[in-house]
């Protein structure tokens, strides 16, 4: 079974479980791993923060959960469709595709993207699949500049030859291949303004480093890219 088939089957099983509960006249429930700080464990071997075993139950009969429950199912169904057809959507697209008025009401299934985004993470943790495996991606966020060449889908991109703007970092960086890395260290900068200023001053050239801007809190693509550069290129 390919990973893609595995994802489809997990999504289907998730739905069938709920259907079985309804059929048996039981209250449909889903168990979502808690993502609070009290359920985060640092794994020293992989050097990664991982979720613990604590779970909370989302229950359709509890009015506080009812809408979220329905929204989670809609997201899962949409993802299954995406994976089935081998298409990718951004999380914003997903929100717009699912947003519609509920029959006979003036209420929408989703009122804002802030309602759908956390539920996507819920789905990932619940099923043990990555967002990208659900064929969802976030918008590009963050920039990388410096003496590193990245190979993406057959193209070789030299990040030192992109002027002052650098390379925009997408949410999926797993397929990147690195070559020609000539830097003493990587400098990760939170603010875009400071990054631009340092580029202007040619800091990365003068100090022989790679610079990355996270533009606010680091998105997943940036974090994974930093992690990969750190673990894969550190020895060189």
């Amino acid at each position: 079974m390919t990973r893609r088939e595995e994802v489809i089957s997990r999504l289907g099983a998730f739905g069938d479980e709920l259907l079985e509960e309804i059929r048996k006249n039981e209250v449909p429930k889903m168990k979502v791993p808690q993502r609070g700080l009290n359920n985060v464990v640092f794994n020293p071997s992989t050097y990664i923060l991982e979720l613990g075993d604590k779970k909370s139950t989302r229950n359709y009969m509890n009015l506080a959960h009812t809408k979220k429950f329905m929204q989670s199912v809609l997201i899962a169904a949409k993802c299954k469709e995406l994976v089935d057809r081998d298409k990718t959507a951004s999380i914003r697209e997903l929100y717009y595709q699912l947003k519609h008025a509920i029959a006979e009401t003036k209420e929408n299934t989703f009122e804002g993207q802030d309602e759908s985004d956390p539920l996507i993470v819920d789905l990932e943790t619940m099923l043990g699949v990555l967002r990208e495996e659900l064929h969802l991606k976030a918008d590009d966020k963050g920039t990388i500049i410096g003496k590193i060449t990245i190979e993406d889908s057959g193209d070789k991109i030299d990040c030192s030859k992109l002027g002052r703007s650098g390379l925009a970092i997408p949410s999926i960086v797993e397929h990147y291949k690195f070559s020609d890395v000539k830097a003493d260290y990587v400098l990760v900068i939170e603010t875009a303004a400071m990054f631009d200023r340092l580029v202007e001053e040619k800091y990365h050239i003068n100090n022989n480093c790679i610079m990355m801007a996270t533009k606010g809190q680091a998105a997943r693509g940036i974090r994974r890219l930093v992690h990969r550069i750190n673990t894969e290129l550190n020895s060189q």
């Binding site: 289907g12 069938d16 259907l19 309804i22 609070g36 909370s56 989302r58 809408k67 809609l74 509920i102």
Partner: protein, 575 residues
Amino acid sequence: MDVETTNVKERSADDLFKDFKEVSITEFFRKNKAHLGYSGKVRSLTTIIHELVTNSLDACEESGILPDIEVEIREIGSEHYRFLERDNGPGIPVEHISNVFAKMLAGTKFHRNVQLRGQQGIGVSGVTMFCQMTTGKPMRIKTSTGDGKVNAVKLMIDITKNSADIIEQTEYSEYWRGTEIEGEVKSVKFNLSDTGPYEYLKRTALANPHARIALIDPEGRKTVFERSVDVIPRPPESQKPHPKGIEVDDLVNLSKQTSANKISSFLVGEFSRMSSGKVKEIQELIGKEKREVKGQIVEVYKLDMNKSPRKLTWADCEEIVKAIESIKFLAPATEGLQPIAEDHITKAVLNILDPEFQFVLTRPPKVYSGGIPFQVEVALAYGGHAGRPVEGGMKAEIMRFANRSPLLFDAGGCAITEAVKDVDWKRYGIKEFDNSPITIFINLISTYIPYTSAGKQTVANEAEVVKEIKFALMDVARKFQMFYSRQRREGEKEARRQMLLKYGTELAEGLSRLSGKNPDAKKIYKDLTALIEEKIKLANELEMLEDADEENGAAIPLEAQADELIEGVTEEKEE
């Protein structure tokens, strides 16, 4: 300054009294019109309607007729109105017409110790007077006792003689019974505020469920407050005064009028709850004195109870009243009190306010100030037409009545208002009393309502009265709370059901797409609906068990169990 005093000339008594003359009745009226209800443009019009309607109601009741009253107010100029009031009462015998409509301080119920609406003796003559003062126009009266003869009279008040000045009088044949009064008035204003004639009539209809009252307002709209019950209230009986309420002046006056031969029989005969034993007690309390009888000094009672009451002096009466103060008497008889009765108020409230729910209570009679009987009736109506619509919502409305007569003015200083404000409504589940669709109806019944002023719009803060009103209100509030919380729970349950079902269609479609087995969305929705209904039914049953336990006095928090049953084991926690 010293210089000036020398300039003052001495004046003789004749000179001083040169300017002394009798005050004319107009002047008296003008000076006292505020006390009589003729102050303010809206209030004056309401007072006119009040006087006419009150007269009609009293007349109908006393002659055993179900009142049918029509009021018409037409605007004929700026602050200039023509009004017409018509009843189906007994009619007024022709010889009495001038007394009723044109003689101040004359009436059938002045000086009767009886619970009636009006007592001032100004009444309809005041209306004639006010109209005459503002327009110079006479009143037109048509009345018939139902004998086929109708008397039509146009009259004014002859202010110098305080009697009727009949301008025109005709008699013609027509078969109906009742009285129709028509007049013109200026410097008044009609509006629909809570002090206007509309509100007055609405409240009068509420407190007089046996009356049918119609109003045609200046806009031509006709509002009919239909009769709610077909029972004419028993006419209240005149009561002998209770000794505790007597004053020296009253006692002196009564002693001059009585036909009794002895003081003892006078006291027993004129007052309620007075016995020969009590007379003896009074005599003892006044005490003895030494007196010379046939050359011998003997000790005798100061007051000889065998004396003729006509020989009672002011000093004697003072002694009697003083003695009465320290003697205990039975509480006065309450037959004179005439409550509207719970079932009648309920019918009127349903008829006129059409609320979602209402609670009515008539408390047993009580006594205030040591001897004046009174009784309190309250009603609480919620929803429907209860409350007063204001911009952006509803406001609570307090309807005050004294002997069925609405008190519309000066609500602020009234003991009834105070009592309502004093109740801690939050304790009874009414979070924002002032902004709730609530009407509070309070009828204070007494042979003597403790008004704060001659305006008769505010009840004085008598501790016993306020306490009684508060008790009555708390009682209905408790009943309201039980009903309301049940109602609210029902509402919440229904909202929950609606919400579960609302998201159900989306959930079913989502699941149908998500499942690998391609199931039918409609079938899923059907199963889901069945599940929801069953869980709600289960929760209801648990709740009923809980209610039963509550009523048995054992409050077991089964609600927690019910929640658990529906909501699963763990709660989702926010990150």
